[in-house]
Amino acid sequence: MVNKTVDVLIIGAGASGAAAAWSLADTGMHIMCMEQGDWAKQSDYPSNTKDWEVRRNKEMSVSPNVRQMKSDYPINDQESPISVVNYNGVGGSTVLYAAHFPRLHPSDFKVKSLDGVAEDWPIDYFQLEPYYQQNDKNIGVSGLDGDPAYPDKQLPLPPIPMGKMGNVIGEGFNKLGWHWWPSDAAIISEPYEGRDRCINLGPCISGCSQGAKSSADVTYWPMAIRAGVELKTNCRVREITVDDKGMATGVIYYDAQGQEQEQKAEVVIVACNGVGTPRLLLNSKSELFPDGLANSSGLVGKNLMMHPWNHMEGFFEPGLASHLGPQGSCVLSQQFYESDANRDFDRGYGLQVTRGSSPIATAINGYNRGDIPWGDGHHDAFKKYFGTNIAVGVCVEDLPELHNCVTLDPDITDSDGIAAPKINYRLSENSLKMLAHGRARSRELLEAAGAKQINDYGQLRYAGWHLLGTARMGRDPATSVVNEWGRSHDVKNLFIVDGSIFVTSAAGNPTTTIQALALYIADTMKKNLANLFD
């Protein structure tokens, strides 16, 4: 069945699709968004029930391969030391993300010019700055003004609490003379635009029952729908269709009943992020595009960047109550973020200080380490380790490499029979050197802060939140997939607005930049409506 042609069809209702939909709504065009999942209910999230710790590891696991919701698709990550984590539903992975919201730095857009590595972005920080600000205002972002790691910026809300652990780790940073700052967070510290403030439930990455986390389902989508955007859930797009002139004509999708449908559109915007977007483009083969849509450069799916992550924790004297507070956001250090010629690696990394462990996680992790035994010593050991840990993550800049890629798995499909993505990824020598440097600095920090015991868990497997670079932007069609405002070089009415268009990954959580890019691209589209396809 062919549905009525819409002006703009957005595929994916996550961070970027939602932002683009909101921005384009004021054009008065008929804008439709298709999302393969459904709305999540805040009342269903684990933190509504006493067994939240168990539920978050099963039905709300961050891994689609564990969670296996109807809307999830399998991801073959056997040939990667990092597993992809995501969420498929309205709001996308913002439903489960930690909401840590550091911007990129001005230098991140000029890595080739400044450091001779990778490629420069075709845009710069200051072009994006107004869109960062707009995004912060739209969704509600908390933080402390005056961070010397950035050009001046003002956030709409004061910082979320650091807690006692913030004081302890802050003293450690100060002893070393290193930069640190309360994390910018897409969590509202005060009531904001009809949503109530964060009440420190803790498990942000299994969904926020309070609605204080600024996920796209509770921020952009209500605004976009009020402005007239049509959001169709439980619609899984199989492929983007094209005409004989090479223009996108719409999509073929499966509706909630699994029936094949066709939706025509004048403009198609892809917003499925760094794995979903190349998967869709590679699945959209035709006579004109036998290697997948928008892939004349051969770069669709290539240059996957995921931010290798080292996890270390220190244990301190009782009384920290470090298990309380928004899980993924406490303190950020960018002491080692910018390049330094005296180091043996290119670019840099961030140190992210996050909260301690909840009771069950404390017991299981402690047992696995050999610290919390069976038997008579159990209770004393548990009390020693519960609420006393501070975690330090090393988030290294992952530089683009062609061999790190998303392809179509020849054997595995989703429940609609669409080929699943396969990840081939390996850590570069540069990343390994950076991780080693970061591990040493993490230990130094925890020692300076007074840790009684330090455990280094190494590079984390389930850390593939940040899925970047697989349809990168650039001015040269031979070396990029989309141009400097997100339009496909090959298909003039096809746009990409998600993390796949990142040229480099920088060394921090990307969602604020993904949403700023989506707003920038939508705004540029609006400014060029008269000659959008020229």
């Binding site: 067994d51 710790e53 001005p106 000029k110 010397p148 910082p159 009440i199």
Partner: protein
């Protein structure tokens, strides 16, 4: 009495229960001051039935094996402390997967139990809607960071 009337949600026999309890109390005994219960006192069997049903059959098979491991005429529950430990050690190779699964399931059951959480001074409740209080922290600690000035790389540095 019909079959329907004698149906039960028990997943293990009385004898297996004795073995299980002997095992559970070795994993988490009551604290000496009795403020923390033993793992025998937290409804573990019911937890397995309701939350970890896939583990029930594994548990039953392992308890059967454990009961007579070591060749003793006495069942596991009647063995001395040292003999129980020997029996566990002897069964580790055979029951490796069982022990790997058992400990996290016991811990998960234990550390969401009302008596346990209260013993730790925590409230036994869902995080929502009450939430938690967390202090802001001492933002004056940032004074030295501010004093050192900007650290972001100016683009004219080249």
């Amino acid at each position: 009495m019909t079959d329907e009337m004698i149906k039960t949600d028990r997943v293990i026999t009385q004898r297996q229960t004795e073995t299980l309890n002997s095992l559970l109390v070795r994993i988490i005994p009551a604290s000496k001051d009795r403020s923390m219960p033993a793992a025998t006192d937290i409804g573990f069997e019911e937890y397995v039935v309701n939350i970890e049903p896939d583990f029930a059959a594994v548990l039953s098979r392992a308890l059967d094996y454990l009961e007579f491991v070591g060749g003793s005429d006495m069942c596991f529950a009647q063995l001395s402390d040292a003999a129980q430990q020997t029996a566990i050690d002897q069964s580790k190779q055979k029951l490796d997967q069982f022990y790997s699964a058992l400990t996290p399931i016991v811990f998960a059951c234990y550390y969401q139990n009302e008596k346990v959480l209260e013993g730790l001074g925590l409230e036994s409740r869902a995080p929502f809607p009450k939430g938690n209080e967390v202090e802001l922290g001492d933002l004056s600690l940032l004074d030295p960071v501010r004093a050192r000035g900007p650290i972001w790389r100016q683009l004219d540095e080249g």
